[in-house]
């Protein structure tokens, strides 16, 4: 308890002598004390907004103790006051959301019977002490009230975090369901149509019908491929939310990785009409997760082909002693600078053109993979001027480009 910051207590009493005595009791109990002699003054002090962190206390403040401008953590409130009585002050404080959570310990010398104690508690007081009271009792009751208040705040914060987590999970499920339905739809249509075509053709489909039927099967198969990738992406998103992407590091030649992935994309590049080239300057070894870096390149090249407007797509690999740099460059529709940060966010859809059609998760996962390697990713792009996605990875084990705490440990 000794490491806790000192709590500020507002001592409200119109009798100078009593107020002084209570202030001394509070100070001995290691509270910082603010004072008020009237109901209005008490309300004014209680309603102060919390100062911004780092604000220096003003010099020459008339109230004892520091920091004078901060609101109180608790209030010791006498019932008898010259303007508003203590019950009224209490009611107003509890009715105002800004001050409602400040615990109030009501005191009185005169009104000690049950009826008045009950009235005090009913006005919203959290405790009621009749004078004369012992310093130890004052301190103990205040500490109890502050402890309850702290527990309340923790519970509130936890509730907010849980509500947030539930909301994010629901968004995820909704996006996932939506993304999965699109390829499923095509798959189903093709198979339905295939079935109808076969029914119409009877027992011996005409030869010229076969290529068409085969085409439907191909489209259907392509959708199951898309679905599989999508399910994998969704699992990655769920994993990354738990901080468990599962990076397995080993010494890898990035030049080989680039060449392999580019080669794999040759048919798709041809379909898109884009010339896909790799430019490397010899082997580049780095300590990375080979499959995950392939995943990064696959996502970036796939985007580049999809939004590249049939223009050339270039993959470059360069390196220095400490880091390796991968760049995937296209000359397509580009991304507005206002969207540069958002496209790496989890559920960005219909914001930037690179985000519809199920690829909204791809860049997010790519970002998380790069981050897990201690690397950084950024995009240089403007609308209509293509885009260059730049990935920088540390080459040595345990290093980080982004910052010391970013690197995920290998499983």
């Amino acid at each position: 308890m000794s490491a806790d910051p000192r709590h500020r207590v507002l001592n409200v009493n119109d009798r100078d002598a009593t107020r002084y005595m209570v202030t001394q009791m509070l100070r001995s109990a290691r509270f910082d004390v603010l004072e008020a002699a009237t109901g209005e003054e008490a309300l004014a002090v209680a309603r102060r907004p919390a100062p911004a962190p780092g604000t220096p206390a003003p010099a020459g403040s008339p109230l004892p103790d520091a920091p004078p401008d901060a609101p109180p953590d608790a209030i010791v409130l006498d019932v008898r006051l010259p303007d508003l009585n203590g019950y009224e002050v209490c009611k107003r404080l509890k009715a105002d959301p800004a001050t409602a959570s400040i615990p109030i310990l009501m005191t009185s010398a005169a009104y000690v019977d049950t009826e008045h104690r009950v009235e005090g508690l009913q006005s919203g007081a959290d405790a009621y002490l009749a004078q004369p009271f012992e310093p130890s009792e004052l301190s103990a009751v205040l500490r109890t009230l502050l402890r309850s208040r702290a527990a309340e705040r923790d519970a509130q914060r936890l509730t907010e975090e849980l509500t947030d987590a539930i909301r994010i999970r629901d968004e995820f499920l909704s996006i996932a369901a939506h993304e999965l339905r699109t390829p499923l739809m095509t798959l189903q249509l093709q198979l339905d149509s295939l079935a109808r075509g076969l029914d119409r053709a009877g027992s011996a489909p005409a030869a010229e019908l076969l290529p068409k039927l085969r085409g439907k099967v191909d489209t259907a198969l392509r959708q199951t491929g898309r679905l599989t990738l999508l399910v994998d992406d969704l699992l990655d998103v769920a994993r990354s939310a738990r901080g468990a992407l599962g990076i397995q590091l080993e010494e890898v030649d990035l030049e080989r990785v680039v060449q392999d992935v580019v080669e794999r994309f040759a048919p798709e590049a041809a379909r898109a009409g884009s010339a896909l080239t790799a430019s490397t300057r010899g082997p580049v070894t780095a300590c990375v997760d080979r499959l995950r870096i392939e995943q990064v390149l696959t996502n970036l090249i796939s985007n580049a082909l999809k939004y590249g407007r049939g223009q050339p797509v270039a993959v470059e690999l360069t390196s220095g002693p400490e880091r390796a740099t991968l760049i995937v460059r296209d000359h397509g529709i580009g991304i507005s600078p206002t969207d540069h940060a958002r496209i790496f966010d989890r559920f960005e859809r219909a914001v930037s053109a690179r985000h519809y059609g199920g690829l909204g998760l791809g860049l997010f996962i790519t970002g998380r993979i790069v981050e897990a390697h201690g690397g950084v990713i950024r995009v240089d792009s403007a609308l209509d001027q293509g885009a260059a996605f730049v990935v920088e990875l540390p080459r040595a084990l345990g290093r980080s480009i982004a910052g010391p705490e970013r690197r995920e440990q290998s499983a």
């Binding site: 369901a177 499923l184 489209t219 392509r222 059609g357």
Partner: protein, 132 residues
């Protein structure tokens, strides 16, 4: 007399497979990749008997498109069937004043039945093409 459909969906595979299967069933099919493209084609003289409309699309989504369609005297009476992956698509049916609302993935049979209902409905109008 062939029945004509405008398919509006941002997914290339959905567009092409809808076009393919509907053409197999005897429809004349035009496609658009988003609400804006659809509006452009309609303003340019396309007069489909029904519009098959996805909701989540970039540039101009389904709801925005519907609002603009309803505001244009020449286009507002073309019936719309919403075809969307969103779970609450049936609630939108009423809000968007649609002739039908189907949730993806939809079986071809159900799609054809919905289209058939609209085609055959009394009072479903065929808009005349504007003078060239």
């Amino acid at each position: 007399m062939s029945r004509s459909i405008l398919v509006v969906d941002d997914d290339a595979d959905v567009r092409s497979s809808l076009q393919e299967v509907l053409e197999d069933e005897g429809f004349e099919v035009t496609v658009a990749g988003d609400g804006q493209e659809a509006l452009r084609k309609l303003d340019g003289g396309l007069a489909p008997d029904v519009i098959l409309l996805d909701l989540m699309m970039p540039v101009m989504d389904g709801i925005q498109f519907r609002a603009k369609q309803l505001a244009r005297p020449r286009l507002c009476s073309i019936p719309v069937v919403v075809l969307s992956a969103q779970s609450h698509v049936r609630d939108l049916h009423h809000q968007m004043r649609c002739a039908g609302a189907l949730r993806k993935p939809v079986r071809l049979q159900e799609l054809l039945e919905t289209l058939g209902r609209i085609q055959g409905a009394p009072g479903s109008r065929r808009l005349p093409r504007p003078e060239a």
